[in-house]
Amino acid sequence: MYVSPIREPLIRGNKDYSQVTKDILAPMAGTPSKYWYMGIALALSAALFGAWATYVTLFTGIGSWGLNKTIGWGWDITNFVWWVGIGHAGTFISAILLLFRQRWRTSINRSAEAMTLIAIACAGFFPLIHMGRLALAFFIFPYPNTRALWVNFNSPLLWDVFAISTYFAVSLIFWYVGLIPDIGTVRDKATTKIKKAIYGFLSFGWTGSAKHWSRHETVSLILAGLAAPLVLSVHTIVSFDFATSVIPGWHTTIFPPYFVSGAVFSGFAMVLTLLIVTRKALNLEQYITVNHIESMNKIIILTGSIVGIAYLTEFFIAWYSGNEYEMFTFVNRAFGPYAWAYWIMMTCNVITPQLFWFKKIRRNIVLTFIISIFVNIGMWFERFVIVVSSLHRDYLPSSWSMYTPSVVEVGLFVGTLGLFFTLFLLFIRVFPVIAIAEVKSVLKTSGENKNHSEHE
């Protein structure tokens, strides 16, 4: 394949195939560093806080939250939508960027997909606990029962059940099918008998046969084709939860594209946050280069600008529609008691990503890390603004209300953050964080050594 000589190499350093294997497997070998132990201790304590909050919620009920009659959706749904959004980057990277033949994805798709799976698991937790009676959560699935009753297929909440469980299942097999050849590598490089047996079991007996590779490539391509519209469908359906209601501020037709671009925006921000630390901690700077970070920043600026335009469009339509209730909701959002949340959202999501127009900032790792944190915060506030500020002042001023989360709700959110980082830290010890086979397949055309030998 021809690669322009002015293109930056995707893999730095003069590497051969066995060096690639060695570098990527290195973080899995030996005992973890003391930073890893510190990280997992912190993450586990956060998860423990969440476990306590879950216990309180289940044994005393949703009354332990700060919700009231006016504001029935609070941090729970905010966190749900935020986590689902974060779960959009992995499959976007591995499916849509595969179809667009973006070869820079090979260094980041594995960890981004793992992050997606963990984020979806965190997301799924919130609607379940929001039901209050976790033991009856299976009611959301259509199963034959003695009442001969089925679920409501007209409801977007039910569509959500299907969308998210399908998304999780398909992302999981997509990730695992891609992982199988690399597990084979781990098996063959394993030094102890137990490791060999475990990875041998997990590798499904992979040998790297030409026939298997040919099928593997077909399967990956078709799965990408199936997952691409799936990624777009998930947040579309999440946005239907709001858009099909009749609440001013929720009942808007631009929600699906606006939510999807917001999801990709926040997903890439979280990938950047994680990978900037991971590449440093695991010495993978030659694989996840500044070039990769710049490419992700370009996607952030695109999706961030779409989100910005969506905010302005919403406001414009609130005025242009002549609907006084819609207009009231938006003026209240920007200048009412929750104005601080609205302006945090505007600053973090609309203004900060625009800094990426400067190449210097786009390629600056420290600034990128800071901006990615801003985007994570901004996107959380976007969901908070949509959920809470639309509800808290409805048609009847006597029922206007304010909402403050209780410590239990904070615990649930911190708990999912803890779970997220715990599982990610375990993942980097158990599986290779970079798709070894995929990196090797682009090494010749996009590695540094190739570019030198050909163009000097």
């Binding site: 007209n154 569509w159 007996g205 790297g208 077909t218």
Partner: protein, 172 residues
């Protein structure tokens, strides 16, 4: 187990060149084990294009019919309920679930078919010819007919050697 010869290359371009060369000498290459997919090898080995795409299509079609059909059955005959005056057969609102079941069935049927036809599965113990196959070696496996003479085997080994293969190993 049949008799066979293994030999390896350390570079995929040399591998492809070598395979083409030995093919002209009538050597039958049974399989090539490689650390990553080598493009163009399907042609040299005469592999057919995978038909797993058809499985995916069939699975997707079944998923669509099951998804749409089930919702229709529930709302028109099993337990029709009036939701906000919507018609019982509210086709547009069946679409999201139909889409999800289509994707789910297509993806799972294809991946399961991939494992079945490739004989891959948890706990499967393959013959590992060379542990560096998943690292940096491209291993060529040449099947040898049952009643080959010593000379014929030598000839194959020589052809592989001339084509730049290393570590030529005869296994009976």
């Amino acid at each position: 187990m049949n008799k066979y010869i293994t030999a390896y290359y350390l570079d995929e371009e040399k591998l492809l060149k070598g395979l083409k060369q030995v093919k002209t000498k009538g050597v039958r290459v049974a399989d090539v084990l490689s650390p990553f997919p080598v493009h163009g090898i399907d042609k040299v080995l005469g592999l057919r294009r995978s038909r797993l795409t058809r499985v995916a299509f069939a699975g997707g079609a079944i998923g669509a019919i099951v998804g749409f059909g089930f919702q229709t059955w529930v709302f028109t005959s099993a337990y029709p309920i009036n939701f906000g005056g919507k018609p019982f057969f509210a086709a547009p609102s069946f679409i999201p679930v139909t889409f999800e079941t289509t994707v789910l069935f297509a993806a799972f049927s294809m991946v399961i078919a991939f494992f079945v036809v490739s004989k891959l599965g948890p706990g499967n113990k393959p013959v590992i010819h060379d542990e560096r196959v998943t690292d940096d070696r491209f291993l060529v496996i040449v099947d040898i007919p049952e009643n080959s003479s010593k000379e014929e085997i030598n000839e194959i080994e020589k052809a592989l050697h001339d084509a730049g293969a290393e570590g030529i190993n005869y296994k009976a």
